[in-house]
């Protein structure tokens, strides 16, 4: 027990230090958690200037906390997913959402095929490069003050659309990937997945009043325990039934979003989410063998270049669809570049399938990709105005 407690202590301290350091330099904490996980983990580098660096083995306890990270990231995605907002603005959202999907998922699929991956592997690569990072993007929007500007409209709208799409995508992909065998088996697996999710959606829709009463706890402690309990139980049951625990958690989140408990969850449960998610990113670092990155270096380079341009273009056009001027439209493009937590969630699913490239190359690629894109995206947003001015497209240099 002593050794285990010490290791978990080292892990949590390393996470805390990495977070503080990233925050100091105005960067997202996600890449920092991953890098520190790589450093203290069992893979290379194992020592630095003769000092052994394998401080934390990959333990079951960390794996469980990391899994809870996936569950609660998706739970909050569901909680904050506003079907009302989606419907209010459905025409513009349908346009910008499909544009974003076609361009970026399409480019991802082209990349996958160009590098000789199978259809299933390509679907993973496409999903990984398609999904933007809500966490990194909202932080950047607030840091730069864009949240108070009109460009936040299409950015947040695109994220809402992506949230819905990623739930469907994960449901289909996990059913296909985990249910091996003939296309008939796969079809059956997808059907089962949707039947299960349909039940969850119905509960979410009609069970509002019941949930309201069930979770009407007096103390925050009891409230927290109930939310953690029910969410983890449903996610676990889904996984046991061969379905995506992440998607199940998403639907539990949407069930809560219609109740009056939303604000309380944001206060009480968000800290638990932050803790689990930090361990999730750290655990990704622990499992990452950076020597594998050499094998996917070309894919990584191509993906970084192609998908940055992809989001820039689709984002800028989306800004125009919202009737924004040139500068603000370009900012929409820059704003959507960061990738992060959801790409890693997809990579975790790939690793759990574990066959062929899904077992090692694609997770390693994702870690490298997220490290680059989360930092590059943040830096691009911070310097967007300078880049736009330099290119002669700013407000001052030309009249729009």
């Amino acid at each position: 027990m002593a050794a285990l407690l010490l290791e978990v202590g080292i892990a949590l301290t390393a996470i805390a230090l990495a977070g503080a350091l990233a925050n100091r330099y105005g960067l997202s904490v996600i890449p920092a958690y991953i890098v520190v996980g790589v450093l203290v983990g069992p893979n290379e580098p194992t020592s630095l200037a003769g000092i052994p660096l394998t401080l934390v083995e990959q333990r079951e306890v960390i794996d469980v906390l990391a899994e809870l990270g996936v569950v609660f990231l998706l739970f909050f995605l569901g909680l904050e997913f506003s079907i009302g907002q989606l419907l209010d603005d459905r025409r513009r959202l349908a346009v910008v959402g499909s544009l974003d999907f076609t361009v970026n998922f399409g480019l991802g699929a082209l990349l996958g095929f160009a590098f000789g991956y199978t259809l299933l592997e390509t679907m993973f690569v496409a999903g990984i490069v398609y999904i933007s990072s809500s966490a990194v993007i909202t932080k950047s929007l607030i840091d730069e003050g864009w949240v108070a500007n009109p460009e936040s409209g299409p950015i947040l709208g695109t994220l809402v659309f992506e949230d819905l799409l990623i739930a469907v995508y994960l449901a289909v992909l996990s059913a296909v990937a985990l249910g091996e065998g003939t296309p008939a088996d796969a079809a059956l697996a997808v059907a089962t997945a949707f039947a299960f999710l349909g039940v969850l959606a119905l509960v979410a829709w009609y069970g509002t009043e019941y949930l309201e009463r069930l979770f009407d706890a007096d103390s925050d402690e009891l409230f927290l325990l109930r939310v953690l309990g029910v969410t983890t139980l449903v996610a676990g049951a889904a996984l046991t039934a061969g379905l995506s625990e992440a998607v199940a958690a998403f639907f539990v989140g949407t069930a809560f979003s219609a109740t009056d408990h939303t604000e309380r969850i944001e206060h009480v449960v968000a800290p638990a989410r932050d803790f689990f998610a930090a361990v999730f990113f750290f655990a990704i670092g622990l499992t990452t063998d950076v020597t594998l990155l050499a094998g996917v270096a070309w894919l990584l380079l191509a993906a970084v270049v192609v998908t940055t341009v992809g989001k820039l273009v689709s984002g800028t056009v989306s800004g125009r669809v919202y009737g924004l001027d040139r500068v603000r439209s370009l900012r929409v493009g820059f704003g959507l570049v960061p990738r992060g937590e959801f790409s890693l969630v997809i990579a975790t699913l790939a690793a759990s399938v574990g066959t062929g490239a899904l077992g090692d190359a694609i997770p390693a690629f994702t870690v490298g990709y997220v490290l680059v894109m989360s930092v590059l995206g943040t830096v691009l947003v911070q310097n967007a105005d300078r880049i736009v001015d330099r290119a002669g497209l700013g407000w001052e240099s030309t009249a729009d």
């Binding site: 909050f76 904050e80 997913f81 506003s82 907002q85 809500s134 966490a135 909202t138 929007l141 607030i142 003050g145 864009w146 949240v147 108070a148 500007n149 936040s152 409209g153 947040l156 994220l159 809402v160 949230d163 604000e263 944001e266 206060h267 968000a270 001027d325 500068v327 407000w395 729009d400």
Partner: protein, 167 residues
């Protein structure tokens, strides 16, 4: 005035208040209670963060702005309806033609139609003043009359040159 409300997933709620033209005041309320207030001068300008407040402070500022602690009496707008007629208050400035005159000499009712029903002089209230009462600088005249008559009297009391007010 239009107020736009949007949800910012993972952050909280955003409210935009329309000021003059394209000018906007943007309030971002975080889930943890923090409020950030931005000002956007125009369409082609960036929002500038004015200040941020904790939930507690924001509520205090809000109640001050609302007038819960101190409600200034906006004298220009004080009107008490009495049927067709309304009651208004007028300050007698040093350059007013009424200063130093008696009510009878000023001939207020014939010239404007309003009746002076009271004079507030410091702490003292002279109700139903006699025609011989002399108006002093700093007095507040409480008058009863229709809206048009009150407007005429307003012009009359401010005017330092003798003459008939327009009707």
């Amino acid at each position: 005035m239009t107020v736009y409300e949007t949800e910012v997933p993972g952050v909280g709620h955003k409210f935009e208040l329309e000021l003059d033209g394209d000018e906007r005041l943007v309030v971002l309320i975080h889930h943890d209670g923090k409020r950030e207030v931005y000002h956007r001068p125009g369409e082609n300008a960036d929002s500038e963060k004015l200040f941020s407040l904790s939930g507690q402070l924001a509520r205090q500022l809000g109640s001050i702005l609302e007038g819960a602690h101190f409600q200034p009496v906006e004298l220009d707008e004080v009107r008490v309806p009495v049927g067709e007629a309304i009651i208004e208050w007028f300050d007698v400035e040093p350059d007013s033609r009424l200063a130093g005159q008696t009510l009878a000499a000023a001939d207020i009712r014939d010239r404007t139609g309003v009746s002076v029903i009271a004079i507030q002089r410091g702490e003292e209230t002279v109700s139903n003043p006699e025609p011989t009462e002399t108006v002093a600088v700093g007095d507040i005249l409480v008058t009863l009359g229709t809206r048009d008559e009150q407007d005429d009297f307003g012009t009359f009391v401010e005017n330092d040159a003798p003459g008939t007010p327009e009707s």
